[in-house]
Amino acid sequence: MIKKPLNKFLFKALLFTMPVFLFFEILFRFGFSPIVTNSTLFDLKMLKVQQQHIEKVSVLSMGSSINLYELNSNIVVRNFNLHYYNFASWGLQMVDQDPLLKDFVKTYHPKYVVICSSFPEFISPQNNSYLNYINANGFLKKNFPELFYFKNYNSLHQIVRRKLTTYPLKLDNWGGATLRVKQKDIDRQKWNEHDIFPTRYTQANYNALDSISTFLNVQKVKFIFVQAPIKKSYTNTSLSTQLIQLHFERCKSIVEKQGGIYLNYYNPVVFTDSLFFDQYHLQDTGAIIFTKEVVADLKKIIK
């Protein structure tokens, strides 16, 4: 007896909810992706990974914009007959990479993990929004990312604003990107910028690197930590040279303690200031030189 009004009620309820779901599906298809973390690039990259159906990655590279721009995907892929993917994203600190990498290792089962890094990855606190991604259900991440619209209370105006204000970055098929800015277009402020290092968050980031090394050692994944080049003018005082040297030694000892491999490419003679975009980002030409050097060394490790 009650079924008739109940069915009518459910039908009307569906009539009102279905257009909402449909609307979000259309948004999704048109590239207005859900906001999962507060990093636009990270969200885009994870969506790309999902769309590319990447199941297994043998050589997984990870890091911040340094790893993203400086490890040239074409050179890496040409030299290794292994599945490779670059999971780096803007602004990732070691404290962010630690939980993310653990999640990626469990998902993609890599044999090698390469982190191209420099001191900017050791200066800021953790960005808790990455936990939204890490703690999300694996099935949801892989098959139904649209649900993040509702799970994270994404509002339309934020989704649209993010889409319209995103820096148009073109990722290659392996998650890498190229930085190409003409010398005359380089922002002078960025060029002369001098990040303070160390900061009160540096120790936490060293601890995170230690945690990554230990984890990879336990998982029997070969860890290769690559110190990326730094613009010579950054180290123009004896204090900054000393601080950078201390940083190199600290990272080396952490990585090697757990059986990882530490490679350092700080070489102002090879990587002259003209190859840089700012204090620590190499442009495309510099990235090619750098990647070739890295690959030559990796060939001795990655079989």
Binding site: P5, L6, F9, F16, P19, Y153, S155, L156, H157
Partner: protein
């Protein structure tokens, strides 16, 4: 589980389908489902406190049986006292233990006496104030013969833990909810539709208005020392709106959910911003709490003090309101907030206008509007105490508020967002004003053309989806 969270939506959809499609033919099974669902809902937050809820329900159920059976008045009083001591004891322990200890330490400290008393790391069980008041009113009503004991333990346990109103009210009375649990429920299309509309309205108030106000005024209250007085005034305005939208939004959702299950639960808000004076306001704000305290605290007190005339009445009001304030939390700010509201009654008592309701058309629209505006300003300043972490912070805020910069402009960092939120507040107030003789603002059955109604619903859904605050704040009243 927050009503606004994805897990709750999934939980409720499954619950609803089971409730009406599978168990609708069997009242007992339907009640068992309500009880199980309520416990799952509660345990989602912290399963350990489920034992407290079950234990409290069991004790009060047994006490109720014996109060009803006993013919000996002394024995009945003793049983009632056992229930009161258990309920109020748990409430005092979980909610006020550390507050009392810290207050004692401060009091001793004022006389240069160092008191080495330890505080405990006590977690406040969610909803304890609400379900304790339910069990207390059950025993009190049973003792005074107003109700019969619950026929079945599942009914009583479900009454105590009824999930739509478990965490933040409304505080349902046994005479309202228990008979509904004992009676076979039939799906009523119009009731369910109205429930959906009320949920939609509650969502709008909570996630568009309250959560956005929360984001804005958090910035203002956290940096009040460095901001201009006009910014602080704006913060006070937003917080007043936030408290109302947050709590009444939750109540709307709770009532709407209950409607979907075939229950009619107590109304908690009756457009309090349209109140003409303080007495009118408290008849419209958190109605289930104020009526509870009126029946069980104020009425006995006013009888007790009746020989003292107006002074006795004022005393009863002050005690009642101090308790209302203290109910909100273990902080002197709440106690003072309640006491201050009690003080606002004094002119009404002295003028003899306490219970006089303004007749419709008895005063000019301008006067009515002026009264409402005056009340809102008074509330704005009073709710500052409610918001502050301590009394000294509240007075500091007042000090900065009443300064020369009150008439200066203030810096708005996100102009578009501010304009949108102000527009949404205006829509809320206007809709509620137009619908003030209805149960909620979205009761628009008078519009007979379905596409127009549908347009309004979709419009509201669009606003909710477009401007909801990304950071979903907890309901303010959860911590009470």
């Amino acid at each position: 589980m927050l009503f606004t969270s994805l897990p709750f939506v999934c939980f409720f959809v499954i619950f609803f389908l089971l409730y009406w499609y599978v168990f609708s033919g069997n009242l007992k099974l339907q009640n068992v489902l309500i009880l199980t669902g309520s416990y799952v809902f509660y345990a989602w937050w912290d399963w350990r406190f489920l034992f407290l809820l079950i234990g409290s329900s069991a004790l009060n159920y047994i006490l109720g049986i014996y109060i009803d059976k006993s013919k000996n008045e002394k024995q009945r009083s003793l049983l009632l006292w056992i229930g009161l001591v258990q309920g109020l004891g748990c409430l005092l322990f979980f909610k006020y233990f550390n507050f009392f200890i810290k207050s004692f330490i401060s009091a001793f400290g004022a006389f240069n006496v160092k008191a080495d008393i330890y505080t405990l790391n006590i977690i406040l069980p969610l909803g304890i104030s609400f379900y304790t008041f339910r069990t207390i009113s059950y025993l009190l009503d049973l003792k005074s013969g107003k109700i019969k004991p619950a026929t079945d333990w599942v009914v009583f346990f479900s009454y105590v833990a009824f999930f739509p109103s478990l965490l933040s009210g409304p505080i349902d009375r046994p005479k309202t909810l228990i008979p509904q649990l004992e009676k076979k429920r039939v799906f009523d299309y119009s009731q369910a539709s109205d429930g959906m509309r009320q949920i939609l309205w509650g969502l709008f108030k909570k996630i568009v208005i309250a959560d956005n106000c929360s984001l804005f005024n958090a910035g203002i209250f956290d940096h009040y020392k460095t901001l201009s007085a006009s910014s602080l005034l704006f913060g006070a305005f937003l917080f007043t709106i936030q408290v109302y939208a947050d709590f009444s939004g939750y109540s709307d959702m709770a009532i709407g959910l209950a409607n979907l299950l075939g229950f009619k639960i107590t109304r908690n808000f009756n457009y309090p911003f349209f109140a003409q004076n303080i007495a009118d306001f408290w008849r419209r704000w958190h109605i289930s709490l104020t009526s509870w305290l009126t029946d069980y605290v104020f009425m006995p007190l006013s009888v007790y003090f009746r020989d003292y005339g107006k002074s006795g009445l004022i005393l009863a009001i002050l005690i009642n309101f101090t308790l209302i304030g203290a109910w909100h939390g273990a902080n002197w700010t709440f106690v003072f907030f309640g006491f201050l509201n009690g003080c606002f009654y004094i002119p009404l008592v002295l003028r003899g206008t306490l219970n006089k309701k303004k007749k419709a058309g008895g005063q000019s629209a301008l006067k009515a509007f002026a009264n409402m505006a005056g009340m809102f300003i008074l509330l704005m300043f009073t709710f500052l105490i409610f918001r502050a972490d301590s009394l000294s912070q509240a007075f500091d805020y007042y000090g900065k508020l009443f300064s020369s910069s009150l008439f200066s402009g203030f810096v708005i960092t996100e102009k578009l967002n501010t304009a949108v939120i102000l527009l949404c507040i205006a829509i809320m107030l206007l809709a509620e004003w137009l619908q003030r003789d209805k149960q909620h603002a979205l009761q628009i059955d008078a519009i007979k053309i379905f596409p127009v109604r549908a347009l309004i619903y979709f419009g509201l859904i669009f606003v909710i989806l477009s401007f909801n605050a990304t950071k979903n704040a907890d309901f303010i009243y959860f911590k009470f």
